[in-house]
């Protein structure tokens, strides 16, 4: 059987694409580089939108990337069920593209936060979290200046009541996100975005605080193999 193919998108200013590709390969899948300027998803089975400062965060984080040619292909594919994970800047892009509700704004306190962060996995029915246990607490690096999740009250209560708050900060909220929200999913559960970085927590060698990030990749691989 051929290995599952996970696309990793690079925009100008993306930083974490190499770590993401490595994490995909460590999990046993093929990492397929996707270029922002191409109208081509190369037939991948899932897509990882990595972090960084695409387009220098000009205008708003993710605001320009959201209109990249690749996004013209990715947005309808995600709406049709293609699994997509966005971390950090990738999460910001998913919100700007309206694949996920709400927005990420300047951290409360204005500081850029870079630290190991406790996170609780609240929903294990998404494409990217099935290999975790409900309520499991994991540790992942966070590194961002604009990660404060905001949405109107109706949206937040809809997310909460439908279990679409997938990750919540524990042991201190780094950025002032509403309800300690660290990550959310779309209604179908195929599109997930979070501020923390699973792709930086897959190997002991790099001094990562954990290897808890592996669960994201083993989750999507199981889903793809069983599809």
């Amino acid at each position: 059987m051929n290995a599952a193919r996970v696309g990793v998108v690079t925009f100008p200013g993306t930083l974490d694409d190499q770590d993401a590709a490595r994490a995909v390969r460590l999990a046993g899948a093929e990492a397929v580089p996707l270029w922002h300027a191409d109208h081509d998803l190369k037939g991948v089975d899932a897509v990882f939108l990595p972090g960084g400062f695409s387009y220098g965060d000009y205008l708003r984080c993710g605001a320009i990337s959201r209109f990249a040619p690749l996004m013209d292909e990715l947005i309808p594919a995600a709406r049709a069920g293609l699994p997509v994970l966005g971390t950090c800047n990738g999460f910001q892009i998913l919100c700007e593209a309206h694949l996920l509700p709400g927005a990420l704004t300047r951290n409360e306190g204005l500081h850029y936060i870079c630290r190991d962060q406790g996170i609780r996995v609240e929903n294990t029915s998404t494409a990217w979290t099935s290999d975790f246990e409900a309520g499991q607490e994991i540790v992942l690096p966070v590194k961002h200046g604009e990660g404060r999740y905001v949405a109107d009250a109706d949206t937040v209560s809809a997310l909460e009541s439908s279990g679409r708050v997938v990750f919540r900060y524990v042991g201190g909220n780094p950025n002032g996100s509403l309800n300690d929200i660290a990550g959310i999913a779309n209604e179908a559960g195929n599109v997930v975005g979070l501020m923390p970085h699973p792709e930086h927590a897959v190997e002991d060698l790099t001094g990562a605080p954990s290897v808890d990030g592996r669960g994201f990749f083993t989750s999507i691989l199981k889903k793809l193999v069983n599809a």
Binding site: L59, A63, A103, E108, V150, D152
Partner: protein, 81 residues
Amino acid sequence: MARVIVDVMLKPEILDPQGQAIAGALPRLGFSGVRDVRQGKRFEVEIEGEADEAALSEVRKMAETLLANTVIEDFTVRVER
């Protein structure tokens, strides 16, 4: 040619830590009597031809599509002079 101004502000209910930091700095600099500061963005859009209703409606579309994120921001459009 005409210049159209688009002002983008965070919605009132969205926390503006940058504005708060500025409001906090002003008294330290001796400016008293400031109750609040909100920080926003101003875009100067130069368009070809007259700033007629059709052109303004096009700028409003630009603002909605790209210049503002209407999930968290409001915008106003006006012609300069």
